[in-house]
Symmetry: C2
Subunit: 337 residues, 2 copies
DNA sequence: TGCATCTGCTAAATGCTTTTAGCAGGGGGA
DNA sequence: TCCCCCTGCTAAAAGCATTTAGCAGATGCA
């Protein structure tokens, strides 16, 4: 069980060459002058011994660890944004890197610890991921490796990966229009006047902005704008129920799928059919959206793509922020045009 | 930006002592004979220089990396079992370890690569996590660090962490009985006769076994057992609809929350009230369960606890499997007794 | 005074790989 | 013949921390 590790020296000895030669051959150096015979012998020896390099020793010498730190507030923790990790993991694997994941709960003390733990391990780069897109607190430690902000921004690190919410907002409105719905639309989750002083996140602000711009340029206005701070199913349910008592909308533009879920419940209770009586569009492409009947058409948060992109940017030393486009997931909650 | 790292030698120099002394003091060795004065000087020097040990160098010498590998098939990837990671991450952090997460999609080639990547980095232990509890394939490589199976089992590694499904099954039945429901119960998701030759997983088999044992010892029988292989909302919906055409059950025991979700939809369409017309109990405590109205009472999968437990066992060199109890999450889908 | 023991500390080896500097021998050109 | 260059390879240093073995001086005891 506790066999000694086989080291490069063992390989070299078996091959009858120096460790220098073995190292050069196994790391695939290009400009070496070692003979084909030497190559063959070293590879054979390595294979027969089952040699695996000691990454710690290599890291010590080269200062490269093929390790990426993924530091997030709640991403791993919450099923909601886990697509970010999934994409990052996949891209890291393709680039033959490995990912250290650290969760901080958004607490500064833990953020410092996480970053220190990562830096101590000579990570080749760090990704700061936020569950909800926002200005992220980054501990004030010297970081001398590439850094990218995922689903968040930081004044200190310019390269970030965010969903293109503005266009997403526009698309939601476009979907309604394409379905022939021009009025009787209720916006569920936000009321510009009531929430005037409040700020959710830059990303959500973009979503609003895209929606409003598209509405305006199409000459459309909302029948009502229903505000609530938390976007949970129960709020969607209550707000929709209340709305139904005053005027039945032709469509509901929901600011996320959980609100839409609540709206479905209220609509169902009222005996209203989706999409014929009232249509819905929403945002996020939460798992829920596909469970609903009929399925909810929604502008998806491209978490997985974003995660991928983050490690790609990290590894390519990019230096500009990137917006990734939100996919339109058409299901059955809008009438066919 | 690219300042040289400060090394132990720098600290020692500033403190006017040897690196030996600095090392001993900073690692907090117990039986050293260094003076209080020396301790103070070294700590002061380390603090003023912002010294951080080079983990690679330390790992090289000590063969300990304070790194745990979390190798899973689909856990990080799927929001479903992400609680496993969450718990593991939290426990690792408490134990001042850091977690490498690797995802394999259940593909042997990737599993080998993941394990090699982990072993190359001198991890102090590895956790093999499976999304669905099952006999897990573990690559046939020499592993000379503690290993625990999380939500799965392996003949090679005896220590595993599994949910106590048998008791969970019993509890679900007990809940029904406690609510005064003794008959008219349909089991949604499994039919013992029809699925005779089929095997889902040991864990699910335990769930069935617990249910049957409890039914039998209470002298109860099912009104019907509805079989379907995949436990998605749409199946729950269809099966429940069909059942409603022949006989209305007093209660539905759903094998997971997604099936229950589908059942709610069918019940709603039929104008039936939960829990007064028909009651439901289910398994998993999926996020969905709390969104339903009324909330779904369910026997939860204790993923987070399991994840925690896995790293605790790993770090304590345990050698026996462990069953973690499934919590009863009471919401509103059963009548109050 | 002489010897053993303790106190407080350090030199040097060690872990494994990468990389720099350079060696030995053969061939070509003058 | 002499010198230079090329080929194919290696010795040794470097990277940073931990750990073993042991040294110098002080103290205790007879």
């Amino acid at each position: 069980m506790t066999k000694k590790r086989v080291t490069l020296a063992d390989v070299a000895r078996l091959a009858g060459l120096s460790t220098t030669a073995a190292s050069m051959i196994l790391t695939g150096r290009p400009d070496t002058r070692l003979s084909a015979d030497a190559h063959a012998k070293v590879h054979a020896a390595a294979a027969s011994l089952g040699y695996r390099p000691n990454v710690a020793a290599r890291a010590l010498r080269t200062d490269k660890s093929r390790l990426i730190a993924f530091i997030s507030d709640y991403v791993a923790t919450t099923r909601f944004a886990s697509g970010l990790i999934r994409g990052a993991l996949a891209a890291a694997e393709e680039a033959k890197h490995v990912m250290l994941v650290l969760e901080t709960g958004g607490e500064p003390a833990r953020e410092i610890q996480a970053l220190e733990a990562a830096l101590d391990r000579q990570v080749d780069g760090v990704i700061f991921a936020a569950m909800r897109a926002r200005e992220v607190f980054v501990p004030d430690l010297p970081i001398n490796v590439p850094t990218v902000m995922l689903n968040g921004t930081s004044a200190r690190f310019p390269v970030s990966v965010l969903p293109d919410e503005y266009r997403g907002g526009e698309q939601a409105v476009a979907l309604l229009k394409a379905a022939g719905i021009n009025d009787g639309i209720v916006l569920l989750g936000h009321n510009a006047e009531q929430e005037a002083g409040l700020f959710r996140s830059e990303s959500i602000a973009q979503r609003f902005a895209g929606i409003r711009a598209a509405m305006q340029s199409a000459g459309m206005t909302f029948l009502a704008e229903l505000s609530c701070w938390n976007w949970e199913p129960s709020h969607g349910y209550e707000l929709t129920r209340k709305q139904l008592k005053t005027a039945r909308p032709r469509a509901i533009l929901c600011l996320n799928d959980r609100l839409a879920f609540g709206a479905y419940q209220a609509l169902g209770e009222a005996g209203l059919e989706v999409p014929d009586d009232v249509a819905l569009v929403s945002f996020d492409n939460d798992e829920l959206a596909s469970y609903l009947r009929p399925g909810l058409t929604t502008i998806g948060l491209p978490h997985e793509d974003m995660g991928r992109r983050a490690v790609e940017l990290l590894l390519s030393d990019a230096n500009a922020p990137e917006l990734v486009t939100m996919p339109i997931i058409e299901r059955g909650s809008l009438p066919r045009a």
